[in-house]
Amino acid sequence: MSVANATETPVLEVRNVSKRFGGVKAVNDVSLRVMPREIVSLIGPNGAGKTTTFNLISGVLPPSSGQIIYRGEDTAKLRSSDFARRGIGRTFQNLALFRHGTVVENLLVGRHVHFRYSVMEALAFWGRPRREEIEAREKVEKIIEFLEIEELRDKTVSQLAYGQQKRVELGRALACEPQLLLLDEIVAGMNREEKEDIARFTLDIRDEFGIAVLMIEHDMQVVMDLSDRVYVLDFGALIAQGTPAEVAADPMVLAAYLGEDAHA
């Protein structure tokens, strides 16, 4: 396992970023970095600004101030649809699947940026489009196998149970072949066994595909067991960072977030 190495360039570097919504400062002067092949967690109380930080990193919202550097490139100039092209994949806290599509279709949309054929070719659907579509299907089937959702393949996602949908979200993010994966409370709504599955997937994603992972999680077991490093947000600002053990012992984190019986 390759833990951050000082000379390596970070996959992601967030520098003094803030985001305001009207009067609310949802994110306040936050800086963080994710090194290659690292699993980093972002934790904090409800409404601390974690999801908003994800929204800034994945280009859903523009920051009010500060810089976000992804693999050496300032993302300020990118259009929001370019982030996926650059290799940032994410899942959504409140599920944002394409409800009327099947699981396979959702995953194929995840591969959107990898298609090269033109619109005109699409209308004819012969030659290159066919080849690319076949190739895409192959990749998608591999992800389905990897996530063990074969039996859901042709179901419409609106018919899936909550936890199943979360898995499809993960698959869709993976289909994009990202270099940085943002997971927003992916294990919420899963039981222990399923959490273990997701934990296993997350480790495999990092170890086998070499993808860096930044995750938001309220489940302390998952955070403690998987993360290389942890950042803690409260009221939009960073209040602590470090290894899981360091953070778990931090009195500020205990007071604001974990509570006394932190060692569940």
Binding site: N46, N94, Q159, E185, M190, H218, A264
Partner: protein, 275 residues
């Protein structure tokens, strides 16, 4: 609210007998499930994703029709009265309210209006006190009372969803994963409140939860569902001692306490429950 006459105290607050639920005329999501919730008890319903827990809750609240589902067989009694054919508002009037899965707030309404909508069946004079109660339970919402609910963070939304259901002063509260997306500190508070609601107001609670250790700690009785069936039931204490439950729901190995997530074996496959 506790004044359930002793004569009928023996009939459970909610009784589900052998129901079968079918979606779209073809997908059988729940098979032959029976369960009982006695007045003043907390009953937990556990199970993996897709086991059919939410479906059971939808069935007892009368909202299956919205998803093209129907109760094919079996019966449901709420306070001794058959409700399997009743529409949702009627069931609420009988005293059962559900906090639906995935929050489902009225996104365009403010937090306060969401709470008001929850109190639709109550008289005007009770509103202020009910709102106070919710704001005391979730102080985080006080600042946000006039924020449009759609803009709240996930956890804040969950708080509103629970608060909204409490506004109707139900006799029986059905909660679908109330701790979903809440910070540990808040989760602890929620479970405390749930316990308090039962102890102090005598509220009956049906709880679907993934946080098995907490759920089993506070419940009086629990059912475990797999693949649309109830496969195990017992008091919280009994289940916590069950080896399978310990391994699959609590993450405790028989030897050295909690298993580390990283140590989970790749070849481990989900165990099929017998029966």
């Amino acid at each position: 609210m506790t004044s359930i006459p002793t004569a009928v105290a023996d009939t459970p607050a909610l009784a589900v007998h052998n129901i079968q639920v079918v979606y779209g005329g073809a997908i059988e999501a729940v098979r032959d499930v029976s369960l009982e919730v006695r007045a003043g008890q907390i009953v937990a319903l556990l199970g993996s994703n897709g086991a059919g827990k939410s479906t059971v809750l939808k069935a007892v609240s009368g909202v299956l029709d919205a998803e093209d589902g129907e109760i094919d067989k079996g019966s449901i009694q709420l306070f001794g009265r058959a409700i399997e054919k009743d529409a949702a508002p009627e069931i609420v009037r009988q005293g059962m309210v559900q906090v639906p899965e995935g929050r489902r707030l009225f996104a365009t309404l403010t937090v306060e209006d969401n709470l008001l909508a929850g109190a639709h069946l109550r008289s005007r004079s009770e509103l202020a006190a009910a709102k106070e109660y919710v704001f005391k339970l979730f102080p985080r919402l006080v600042d946000k009372r006039s924020t449009v609910a759609g803009y709240l963070s996930g956890g804040e939304q969950q708080m509103v969803a629970i608060g909204r259901a409490l506004m109707s002063a139900p006799k029986l509260l059905a909660l679908d994963e109330p701790s979903l997306g809440l910070a540990p500190l808040v989760v602890a508070e929620i479970f405390n409140s749930i316990r308090q609601l039962r102890d102090q107001s005598g509220l009956t609670i049906l709880l679907v939860e993934q946080n098995a250790s907490r759920a089993l700690a506070i419940c009086d009785y629990a059912y475990i569902m797999e693949n649309g069936r109830v496969v195990l039931d017992g008091t919280g204490e009994q289940l916590r001692r069950n080896a399978d439950v310990r391994e699959f729901y609590l993450g405790l190995s028989s030897k050295q306490g909690r298993t580390h997530m990283k140590d989970v074996k790749h070849y481990k496959r989900r165990k099929r429950w017998l029966s």
